[in-house]
């Protein structure tokens, strides 16, 4: 209980503190410190859940089980490393005149608020609160995406706001339908939206209503997950916002949205005894993988390239959860972790690389490795990891997903394999000249933060070679939970 309050309280208080303090020289430091405290609280919470099993506290409003505690830990970790990365990055941006102190103040407080909303979404037991937190997550990031106030960033933020707003409205309708179905079983009042209560009676919920509700929920939260064809906002928001925001959007927000979908899927599966929800998720997932893979080769902007790669990976994870079963779910969870870590590492490297070359366009970036080998290798290794090269963790999870697909959904395997191959060719061919060859990069005024990049990559490497037993145990528990 105290851990939950700490996990939620630190970022919220941090947001208020940073808004109050304003743009002081030590604001980035405070940002890092708050994120560190959140991480520590999340670690304590994780330890508690591992030791004592699921927690249901504060009038049943908060619920922690192996499934969400692992995402809480991941969110806190990536939140922390991103805050470390954003210190030198934002400093350089400010010195180059792209940001003012007022904007930095906004950035810091919104960053913490964003972390708060995501943690709230993860920890909330009430499906309504989950919705509120997801909407709030959109609102906090809209202003972050348009931080530079360039025409393109305003457009991206507008698209982001409208598309996600409409999407999330669909999710609200789905939530209403869910409540409607639950009310008949559980009676009116606050209890009928609590996930734990719903989960206990999911067999009695009306299948017709739940099927319809799931369509709306999947469309709604799927918009935020970036599933094709609802993905239009995602590349723009990633490309035009500041890079730390791209990193947390890709690494965290998409996960949280997918988490919401999976929570709903568990309920629907329990009520509707057909493969309806699975098929819907597999269909959306596969479509996202295939479309994103083809879009990759057309990208000219490096951040857009990796944004499409995020869509692709979200598609893979959605597909895995759609297949269901212990192995696919295990692989999905592993993929979620590995993708978050790798993608944020890539965005860290890309962020500094764009600062070195002064452009985000792929044609304008050449020979990073000559001027800073650490960054060049970081980008290259990260990209290889994200493309599913062994021995990184993504290889392990993709391999598991593929063999499960071959056994259970053989029709889908060729699509997946083809998409992965296309993505590989597209990204490698674009990255090769960026990393190697004649250079046009310059030195940065401040030391780039390479520690987060390599920490993430090391973790992903570890996940590929050896999953610690308690982590594996934990994944297995979570995989069982989500059916």
């Amino acid at each position: 209980m105290i851990e939950i309050l700490a996990v939620l309280g630190f970022p919220l208080l941090g947001a208020l503190l940073l808004a109050w303090l304003g743009a002081r020289p030590n604001a980035p430091g405070i940002n890092v410190a708050v994120s560190l405290l959140t991480l520590l609280a999340a670690a304590a919470l994780t330890a508690r859940v591992i030791a004592e099993g699921p927690l249901l506290v504060l009038d049943r409003q908060f619920f922690v089980d192996p499934f969400n505690v692992f995402l809480v830990a991941l969110t806190a970790l990536v939140g922390f490393t991103t805050s470390i990365f954003s210190r030198p990055y934002m400093r350089i941006e400010e010195e180059r005149g792209r940001l003012t102190p007022a904007k930095l103040r906004l950035y810091h407080s919104m960053y913490q608020l964003f972390n708060f909303t995501m943690l709230l979404a993860l920890l909330a037991n009430n499906m309504g609160i989950l919705w509120v937190a997801m909407e709030a997550a959109t609102l906090t990031t809209v202003l972050l995406v348009s931080l530079y106030r360039t025409p393109a960033s305003l457009e991206a933020a507008w698209k982001y706001f409208i598309l996600c707003g409409v999407g999330i409205a669909q999710a609200l309708f789905g939530t209403i339908l869910l409540y409607f179905a639950a009310e008949r079983v559980l009676g009116a009042g606050g209890g009928a939206l609590l996930w734990t209560e719903l989960n206990a009676v999911k067999g009695q919920l009306e299948p017709t209503v739940l099927s319809l509700a799931f369509v709306f929920l999947l469309v709604g939260y799927g918009t935020k997950t970036g599933l094709v064809p609802l993905h239009n906002w995602l590349p723009d928001a990633h490309a035009e916002g500041p890079t730390p925001v791209s990193a947390v959007l890709s690494g965290l927000l998409l996960n949280v949205a997918l988490y919401a979908v999976v929570r709903c899927k568990v309920l629907v599966e329990g009520s509707v005894h057909t493969s309806f929800a699975r098929e819907l998720m597999m269909g959306f997932g596969l479509l996202s993988v295939v479309v994103a893979a083809f879009m990759l080769s057309r990208q000219k902007d490096l951040k857009r390239l990796f944004a499409y790669s995020s869509i692709e990976h979200m598609g893979i994870i959605t597909f895995a959860f759609g297949m269901g079963g212990p192995i696919a779910n295990f692989a999905g969870l592993l993929h979620m972790t590995a993708h978050s870590l790798t993608k944020s590492a890539i965005f860290f490297a890309v962020g500094h690389a764009t600062q070195k070359t002064g452009t985000q366009l792929i044609d304008g970036m050449r020979g990073l490795i000559t001027i800073s080998p650490m960054m060049g290798w970081g980008l290259m290794l990260g990209s290889l990891a994200i493309l599913g090269m062994p021995p990184f963790g993504i290889f392990a999870s993709e391999f598991l997903i593929l063999i499960t697909a071959m056994r259970e959904q053989p029709w889908a395997t060729p699509f997946l394999l083809a998409a992965l191959a296309i993505a590989f060719a597209a990204v490698v061919s674009k990255l090769q000249p960026i990393v190697f060859g004649e250079t046009n990069a310059t030195r940065l005024p401040h030391r780039p933060a390479m520690v987060p990049v390599y920490t993430h990559l090391a973790l992903v490497l570890m996940l590929g070679l050896w999953i610690p037993p308690y982590l594996a145990q934990w994944y297995r528990q979570a995989a069982r939970l989500i059916g």
Partner: protein, 222 residues
């Protein structure tokens, strides 16, 4: 027919009014009238929520009704009026598709959502269940409005009126969501509106206009 209590009849009437207002918004060209129509929609929503609260003795719905009243009838229209005045954007809005065609599409959407709602309302036990179809139709119509308008403020009004439809769906299908959720939603709407206000100024500063055709530069393969 005669089994429906009187208050439910008034709710049905207000539901019909809500639908009528949705259509009026779809057909309206003037931004200021659009805001006023939105306020009227909020008013009928608040009234119907209050009547549901009275008729079914659900005190928490009074809160919801009061919240809707303050937020959707006064605060948001006032904010929108202020924005329109400050940004001086009192133009007529011409849609992407001409208005009669939009209306025809609207009718099709209404038929669609009525059909979609029938199986659900048959399951419902509330006296107001038959209005679920209207709520769904309002959501769809607002969606249509957002698609067909290319200016920023009408799009936002469409978004807000979609929220109205959703609230109405919540009231008519289930006598409202739990209060904590409604409070959260209301907060989100308000904060969203404030952020948009800021955002409008940013867009205006950049483009000297709120026409969204300036916001169509980001396309694939550029």
């Amino acid at each position: 027919m005669t089994a429906i209590p009187f208050y439910a009849q008034i709710i049905n009437l207000l539901a019909a009014l809500l639908l009528l207002l949705s259509f009026a918004m779809l057909a309206q060209r003037r931004v200021l009238s659009l805001v006023n129509l939105f306020a009227m929609q909020g008013l009928s929503l608040a009234l119907s929520t209050a009547i549901v609260a009275y008729g079914t003795a659900q005190p928490h719905l009074y809160w919801s009704a009061g919240l809707t009243f303050v937020l959707k009838v006064f605060l948001l229209p006032w904010l929108l009026h202020r924005l329109i005045r400050q940004l001086d954007v009192r133009w007529d809005v011409e849609g992407l598709i001409n208005i009669p065609t939009t209306m025809l599409i609207g009718i099709v959407l209404v038929v669609f959502s009525f059909n979609l709602a029938v199986p659900i309302s048959e399951l419902a036990s509330t006296v107001t269940r038959s209005t679920l179809g209207i709520a769904m139709a309002c959501v769809m119509l607002s969606f249509l409005m957002m698609i067909t308008r290319r200016k920023a403020i009408p799009q936002v009004i469409g978004f807000l009126s979609m929220e109205n439809g959703l609230f109405f769906a919540a009231t008519s299908a289930t006598y409202g969501m739990p209060l904590v959720v409604e409070l959260g939603i209301a907060l989100d709407v308000l904060v969203g509106m404030l952020i948009l206000g800021v955002f409008f100024f940013q867009i205006r500063e950049q483009f000297d206009s709120l026409d969204l055709k300036h916001l169509e530069k980001l396309k694939e393969g550029e």
